[in-house]
């Protein structure tokens, strides 16, 4: 499903004339199979977000190759990436990133709007999704009228609405209390089992990482793998 080969990435900092490279990822290699929940762990600043941003096309690799869903996305243009994301990837962010001017229902509808679905179908699907994430009573709430956990549910609904094969989540529970965190993780697990969606989540929380099928750890820009308890149970 996702294949990463010899990926290198360095940030360039400093003004003209005094530029320095900050290497973040060094020869990263891994493969993620369809339907897996993979946690990427590592210390703060180890490059977890950087790796996910590369997989999302927000930045592009210095060298190496990334294949998603059988497609080599390494050299994709901005436009190519936007339609690829719309089609194949759902996003859940630590800060939810809902649009403040849209209601819960409208936020969930947004990816379908971007895709050009017609209004009736959109409404219908979005309402169903709201029920699935347990927010049928909050459909007309604006993001600032929802709790953190509720906002994250909306954002999960939004990530799922176009039925992508993959969902990327950068610290999806990072801003939530541990009880809400458990709810969200259970929701993710249910969706994974129902729809066989591949999840890649970033976390520095051991508890969260331990509920994934696989655990990849980034240290000094290199990746190592540990088996999670769920995969052992399987």
């Amino acid at each position: 499903m996702i294949e990463v080969k010899h990926v290198h990435y360095a940030y360039t900092i400093g003004k003209k004339g005094k530029r320095t490279d900050v290497p973040v990822l060094r020869d990263v290699n891994f493969e993620i199979r369809k339907g897996e929940i993979t946690a990427i762990a590592g210390k703060s600043g180890s490059g977890k977000s950087t790796l996910l941003n590369l997989l999302s096309g927000f930045i592009s690799v210095d060298s190496g190759m990334i294949t998603i869903n059988g497609k080599d996305v390494t050299g994709l243009s901005e436009k190519g990436w936007s339609s690829f994301r719309l089609e194949h990837i759902g996003f859940v962010f630590q800060n939810y990133e809902l649009i403040p001017g849209l209601t819960a229902l409208e936020n969930i509808e947004l990816p379908m709007v971007l895709k050009g679905e017609n209004q009736r179908l959109r409404r219908e699907k979005a309402e169903k999704m709201l029920r699935k994430v347990g927010l049928e009573h909050q459909s007309s709430h604006y993001p600032n009228e929802l709790s953190g956990g509720q906002q994250q549910r909306v954002s999960i609904g939004r990530a799922l609405i176009n039925e992508p094969a993959i969902i990327f989540a950068d610290e999806p529970t990072g801003s939530l209390d541990s009880e809400t965190e458990q709810d969200i993780l259970t929701l993710i697990r249910t969706l994974n089992e129902e729809k066989n969606i591949t999840f890649v989540l970033i976390t520095h929380d051991h508890e969260v990482a331990s509920r994934a099928d696989r655990r990849l750890t980034l240290t000094d820009g290199r990746l190592t793998e540990e088996r999670g308890e769920y995969s052992e149970a399987k």
């Binding site: 999302s56 930045i59 901005e78 962010f93 800060n95 403040p100 001017g101 971007l114 895709k115 050009g116």
Partner: protein
């Protein structure tokens, strides 16, 4: 993203900042109203002057004087008239000819009254085709029926009144000396040809007045002529000894745009011609230059308004950076994002233009009332029936195109900036 959704998003965004949008639309409104009002002066004066010029001669009329062939005056006869009629785009040719006072002179009498009227031979069919209008009666139906000019009755003088004149021998007298009262319609007149030397009457013809022409378009013009059917041309020529009797030939062209061609064709064939359209074309050139200049100056006002649009759109993009970032992250097409911003600036331009047009019409109507009133009050003249400001559809179209284009262009850079929003920076900044 579907167009209807883009429109909806754009409208939602615009509603969020009503005051800012309102101020920008206001600036655009003022700019485009200024442009239209300024240019309307050019359009107004042009159409007034054109109307003025064409009021005493129809635009489709070409006057034909003479004909030269290798620098020799050829004169005009029946055959040449027929030739002109054969030309393309000619609707009709009115061949008027004046009967001169020569050795044998015509004089006109009605009952006892004498008249100094000129006798003119013409072709009534052609007169009818050239839209000669009558104030009373009808076009002659038979050879012995005639038309008379609007002021004909004023040219009639009784023998008693004639005797009181300082010089009773003078055949020309002022209209106020005439003392005929009542309508001349249906009356009989006699045209007698007198040998100037012997005083002997050579010939007398009696006609019935079938119709009276409409008043000349300018009130200082007088028309006391009598118009006789063309059948008498040869006969009268024989009496007076005139070589030809075509003194006022007017060709009427089917429509204004052919005047130029036909005029050129006639000149080519050696005719000396005059058409008001030809005169007007140099005037038009001047006015077109004037209008272009006014539109150019007006466009500067629109450009100033466009600075406001640029500002508003730049702020809108900055404000919405986060939202744009989220949409791009989710997979929004950059072109779609750009289009939404262009729609917003285009909508500002369009609204500004619409209000601008409405205001311009109001200002134009007001200035047409107020400016003549002021001029009358200050200069004391009251003959000013000039339209100062006119807004034809083409001006609205030109101004609309300029305003909307300028608005879209000034919104283009901000829109481009919107598409270049960096997803990661936008998300990190946080709403």
């Amino acid at each position: 993203m579907k167009l209807s959704d883009q429109v909806q998003f754009t409208m939602r965004n615009m509603r969020k900042n009503k005051l800012r949008i309102f101020m920008t639309v206001l600036a655009t409104t003022m700019g485009s109203a200024f442009l239209i009002v300024l240019a309307s002066v050019g359009f107004g004066l042009q159409s007034s002057l054109m109307e003025e010029a064409s009021s005493h001669q129809p635009l489709t009329q070409i006057q034909i004087w003479d004909r030269y062939e290798s620098d020799e005056l050829q004169g005009i006869d029946e055959r040449t008239i027929e030739e002109i009629k054969e030309l393309e785009h000619i609707r009709t040719v009115v061949p008027r000819g004046m009967v001169y006072h020569m050795d044998v002179s015509p004089s006109v009498t009605l009952e006892d009254y004498m008249s100094g009227a000129q006798v003119i031979v013409t072709d009534f069919e052609a007169e009818k085709d050239s839209n000669l209008s009558l104030s009373e009666g009808d076009f002659p139906a038979s050879e012995n029926e005639i038309l008379v000019g609007y002021h004909f009755s004023e040219s009639l003088i009784s023998p008693e009144a004639a005797e009181q004149r300082t010089d009773p021998e003078d055949p020309y007298f002022a209209p106020e000396e005439g003392d005929y009262s009542g309508s001349v319609l249906g009356k009989n007149i006699t045209v007698s040809f007198t040998n100037q030397e012997s005083g002997e009457i050579v010939e007398e013809e009696t006609f019935t007045i079938a119709g009276i022409t409409a008043a000349p378009s300018r009130d200082w013009n007088r028309n006391g002529n009598i118009y006789v059917a063309g059948e008498f041309r040869e006969h009268f020529m024989g009496l007076t000894g005139q070589e030809h009797m075509y003194t006022e030939i007017n060709a009427h062209v089917t429509s204004v745009e052919h005047v130029e061609n036909v005029t050129a064709e006639l000149k080519e064939q050696g005719y000396s011609v005059y058409s008001i359209s030809e005169e007007l074309s140099s005037m038009n050139l001047f006015f077109n230059a004037l209008k272009a200049g006014l539109i150019f100056v007006g466009t500067i006002a629109v450009l100033i308004a466009s600075i406001g649009i640029f500002n508003t759109m730049t702020m809108a993009v900055t404000e919405r950076t986060h939202e744009i970032g989220v949409m791009k992250a989710l997979g929004a097409n950059p072109a779609g994002i750009r289009r939404m911003f262009l729609m917003e600036s285009g909508a500002i331009g369009l609204m500004g233009t619409l209000f601008g047009v409405v205001i311009a019409y109001a200002v134009s109507a007001a200035s047409n009332v107020i400016i003549p009133a002021i001029l009358e009050a200050t200069t004391g003249t009251d003959t000013l029936n000039i339209t100062f400001s006119a807004i034809p559809a083409e001006l609205v179209l030109i101004a609309g195109l300029i305003s909307v284009a300028v608005a879209t262009v000034s919104g283009y850079r901000p829109a481009l900036r919107a598409t270049r929003v960096n997803v990661l920076q936008a998300l990190r900044r946080e709403a």
